[in-house]
């Protein structure tokens, strides 16, 4: 099955072509949905086959390259279009195709009746195609192809309902914002790639990483490469300072938010950092930058999530926050923990978004959680699955989120220090709080919607079955990565599986400090207790005594407004970047430079010619005889000259 891995990109591409070219003609939603989902489902089976085959191989043979064709051949630069099938890419592929398939199925129900139904599935398949290229690519160029491809799909799908309003503008503006912000990151990524080629004379993963591990290269070069790559990652994975596009990306349909802006695309940055672990490990300063940025993003987004009132906005900031966790893990050298969190996060966050979509679907497109309440009895399946996902993300022991989050917090403590752990634990607490605030306001308490106009109802089976499967995964998904403390001599299965990928990086990193099991269990107990008390507190406030929340928000009005307005980051960017560019373009580039200089030059040439011709024109009298006189005079002159020169 490893050799058939190209099917995983070919099938979605085929689905995209069929739905994209003939979707309008096909019209039948069942056929379109079937094509869209089946291609991804089959891809998943191929990946699963390759995974099983790889597991059966001895550890040293688990990394295989599948060459398809020679792509670029310019001078010394030779780029093959090849896929790298190893533990890391297989893990990511399983997530992308598995969760992707469920979301495709869900979308058949969610998008039912939409006039752009065929377009939606075409874009989704194109996305899977690009994302699979991103995770399977055997070199930086194929990765970049996928990287840009998912950015394009993200743009297309955020602006999918291009005729709808979104907040103060339109969905197209949100799409544009995502695209432009991503380009800034991509520029950094490109610079990183150039520098890699200059330094290592190759863009192939295996060659670059082998040379990075053995060549004597200055740490400053590594630092520069790592920094550029990380800038790329901050754009794609919505970290400070480029996170502003992700909340606006919620303008897209909810399955898109689940697939692209929660489970898969936004984790591309984490994947890339993890793939280039050896480069990052060789630049300790940048590792610290990654960890600190991740940590700051995590806590900042979590505080914003506390006060948002749009169900998707809360989840969006939660995603930003969780992505921060992943970078924290990568930054302290726990690469496998970051990928582990990518996986569990994909399960529970996709589930949360799909659950939110189910609620929005049942509430006639209402997204304000202040206008929900008491939905538990109307949507039992949605409620149950949403509740499980909330428990998972809050880090309640026994569910997937607990294992990955605990792994990250422990690594932060062991390799980063107490402050890293503390901020991480506070973020975990805030996460538990705002998630249960969301659950309470949505499913418990008084019904705050208008009964005459809104009739909440459970979603069809097409939507609830994927929810149930994801809920199952959210519960059991963590058990592949039981920490060493509990599993004893077997160690952490997930970590062991990915271990060969990170071995070169680990060899370069400073040795882990020695910490006792007791410490780990103690810290775990503290963070779990904090999360549980946050849950209790959130339920106490929002389920029973909503006036407490109001009093608190009034008492800390400044802080509340700061959170509600997202630290005014958008406004600051608007004032510091967007406005100067816009004003400068308008006042100087347009009205001064273009109008006066460029236009002046063009018009000046034209008027010069006009005036000059006006003078010369007078010679042409139109009287044939005057022409004849000139002609004769000319002949006479020529004759004279001939005679004289003789």
């Amino acid at each position: 099955m490893i050799n058939l891995i190209y099917l995983t990109t070919l099938l979605p591409l085929l689905g995209f072509l069929i739905n994209g070219l003939f979707g309008r003609k096909i019209k039948n939603e069942k056929v379109i949905g079937l094509i869209g989902s089946a291609t991804v489902g089959l891809s998943f089976l191929v990946v699963l086959g390759a995974f099983i085959q790889t597991v059966g191989l001895p550890i040293e043979n688990r990394s295989n390259t599948v060459e398809l064709f020679s792509w670029l051949n310019v001078g010394g630069l030779q780029i093959k279009f090849a896929y790298l099938v190893d533990q890391l890419s297989l893990t990511m592929s399983l997530i992308v195709t598995g969760v992707g398939f469920l979301i495709h199925v869900y979308s058949i129900g969610y998008m039912h009746g939409d006039k752009g139904f065929w377009r939606f599935f075409a874009y989704l398949n194109l996305f899977i195609f690009a994302m699979m290229n991103l995770v399977l690519g055997d070199n930086f160029v194929v990765l970049f192809l996928g990287w840009e491809g998912v950015g394009l799909c993200s743009y297309l799908l955020i602006g999918f309902w291009y005729d709808r309003k979104f907040e103060k503008g339109t969905t197209s503006q949100a799409a544009k914002k995502a695209f432009v912000v991503n380009r800034i990151g991509d520029f950094g990524f490109l610079l990183g790639m150039f520098l890699i080629y200059m330094t290592f004379d190759s863009l192939n993963f295996k060659e670059v990483f082998a040379r990075a591990a053995s060549f004597p290269i200055a740490e400053s070069t590594f630092a520069l490469i790592a920094l550029f790559l990380f800038i790329g990652a901050t754009g794609k994975s919505a970290q400070i300072p480029l996170f502003v596009w992700l909340p606006d990306a919620m303008a897209g349909p909810t399955p898109v938010s689940a697939l692209i802006h929660a489970a898969t695309m936004v984790t591309a940055g984490v994947y890339m950092v993890s793939r280039a672990s050896i480069i990052f490990a060789s630049a300790p300063a940048i590792m610290t930058v990654v960890a600190v940025i991740g940590l700051l993003t995590a806590i900042m987004a979590a505080t914003i999530g506390l006060v948002q009132n749009d169900i998707k906005k809360v989840l969006a900031y939660s995603t930003v926050s969780q992505l921060g966790y992943m970078f924290l893990a990568a930054g302290v050298g726990a690469f496998s923990a970051s990928i582990f969190h990518v996986m569990t996060h994909a399960f529970f966050k996709a589930l949360l978004f799909l659950g939110a979509g189910s609620v929005i679907h049942g509430m006639h497109d209402e997204q304000n959680i202040q206008k929900y309440g008491g939905l538990k009895k109307y949507m039992p399946k949605t409620y149950l699955t949403f509740f499980i996902a909330t428990l998972a993300i809050s880090g309640v022991p026994g569910l997937s989120g607990f294992f990955s989050k605990d792994e990250i917090l422990w690594s932060a403590y062991a390799n980063g220090g107490f402050v890293f752990w503390l901020i991480g634990a506070i973020t975990a607490m805030l996460t538990a709080f705002y998630m249960f605030r969301l659950v309470s306001l949505t499913f418990y308490g008084k019904e705050r919607f208008d009964h005459h106009h809104v009739h909440p109802h459970e979603s069809p089976a097409l939507m609830t079955v994927p929810l149930i499967i994801l809920a199952f995964l959210s519960v059991v998904g963590g058990y592949v990565g039981i920490p060493k403390v509990f599993s004893g001599q077997h160690g952490n299965l997930f970590e062991g599986w990915l271990e060969p990928i990170y071995a070169p990086a680990m060899a370069k990193l400073a040795t882990f400090g020695s910490h006792t099991h007791l410490e780990e269990i103690l810290l775990m107990t503290v963070s779990v207790t904090a999360a549980l008390s946050a849950i209790y507190f959130a339920l106490h406030v929002y389920r029973k005594n909503p006036q407490i929340a109001e009093n608190v928000s009034k008492k800390f009005k400044g802080l509340y407004n700061l959170f509600l307005n997202k630290y005014f980051v958008d406004e600051a960017y608007e004032a510091a970047v967007v406005q100067p560019i816009q004003k400068g373009s308008e006042k100087f580039l347009w009205k001064t430079f273009d109008v006066k200089f460029i236009d002046g030059m063009v018009n000046g040439v034209a008027s010069l010619v006009e005036k000059g011709s006006g003078l010369i024109r007078k010679i042409q009298t139109g009287v044939a005889q005057s022409y004849a006189v000139v002609m004769m005079a000319g002949i006479a002159l020529v004759l004279l000259w001939l005679i004289l020169s003789l």
Binding site: G622, V623, A624, Q625, A628, M632
Partner: protein, 102 residues
Amino acid sequence: MSSIPIECYLILSAFMFCVGVAGVLIRRNAIIVFMCIELMLNSANLTLVTFSSYLGNSIGQVFVFFVMTVAAAEAAVGLAIIIAIFRNKKTVNIDEINIFKW
């Protein structure tokens, strides 16, 4: 013919040509301008015939036949144009016909 020197023919021809040029340049009536052009053509013909006889080469005389043919055709077309212009403009004065300008 041998009694008359070649210079006489050439001077006559040059004189005829100059008369033609002067007529073309200064006369206002299109018909006269036209006749002056014919005069110039015939002065050229005279030169050709002179040299043909002087050099004992018949090519010059062949040329003259061609020139006469072209002149006849040109006269026909030219007169037709003058008539057409007269119908439109009610004049054949060249200085009144200044439609050659933009």
